[in-house]
Symmetry: C2
Subunit: 188 residues, 2 copies
Amino acid sequence: MTTLKQKILQVSTDLFQTRGINSTGVDTIVAVAGTTKMTLYKYFETKEELILAVLQQSHQDFQTWMNDKLGVFNDKPDEKIQKLFDFIEEWVTSPSFVGVAFIKASAEFPNEENRIHQLSSQQSREFRQFISKLAQEAQIKDADGLAMQLSILFEGAVQAEQIKRGSGAIKSAKKAAKSLIDLAIKQS
Amino acid sequence: MTTLKQKILQVSTDLFQTRGINSTGVDTIVAVAGTTKMTLYKYFETKEELILAVLQQSHQDFQTWMNDKLGVFNDKPDEKIQKLFDFIEEWVTSPSFVGVAFIKASAEFPNEENRIHQLSSQQSREFRQFISKLAQEAQIKDADGLAMQLSILFEGAVQAEQIKRGSGAIKSAKKAAKSLIDLAIKQS
DNA sequence: TATATACTATACTGTATAGTATATTTTAAG
DNA sequence: CTTAAAATATACTATACAGTATAGTATATA
């Protein structure tokens, strides 16, 4: 069963990504979701809270999906980081992909004091730490260094893909990632 | 002498980067620039034209700056691509750096039919072609492939830096770039 | 001095926005 | 059948925004 709250979240996620966050009014959201503002404001105190909820949901969805995919290699920890960008490619090229929420949000809310910016920043950091953990498990010496490089490739490729769909950026990033991982392994 | 038009452009560039484009009204711009809306609309037909002008100006400023820096190595074309990320680092860490205009603009205007998005996309492509030319001059075989990888590193590092100032992303991207360039040279 | 140009001051129009108030209808459970 | 909760319908407030209209001032040049 899809509750109205979930429907509002899903529609918001979609509209924020395809039209921009500030450019999407709550009137548009409720119209597309087939409900009214009264209902929206019952579940979300303000538009800011709705945006934060969309960010949380998107990030959690991705993390859950990725953990499932990598779970297959639980007994061979060194393969996880090798496969990471294969799954990123799969995820980015899937038809339902509409972009990475925290990348867009941080651009629309550049002020570091803003709660939305802060959450974006935190999610970016969390994903980098996630990569670093994979690198550690693969016995890589400078795990943090490699994680930073790979997260830059990730954010850059997604950015390039958002600026021009089908640019081939993901494939290129995957190749670069493999090179950098190989190099890091050699130095460990 | 700074003309009012230049002043408006400069103030807009700054406000767009620090507060976001859609979140910055023309009233704020003229207030900060110390002029009136009548004057702004004398030089720029619409806000959209102003945004486009800001993008053009920012891109040209960067290209000019970079060409000057690389001009020193005009007689050793293979050194240019090696030094590229050193200058990118210098540029990004300079106090006047406020971000890369086309990266933010493409996030705030995600629709591919939008003129602002189209210009952003074009500028991203132009910068990639610029890198590709450097790679060709350095006798690198897969120049386009390397250029794509390096432009992803560039956009990713800038993105990471916008999400968290002083994250060290540029240093990390520079290191990754050197590795990828070395690898591409070996394969040429 | 005359005249054009650049700029200012300010009030206005029309639209979009976030959020609220009030009353009504639907739905589900005792 | 009754009652409470969930959702709708609609009108409203208050503010912000892009862009315009009108009237006036400052400056430079011919």
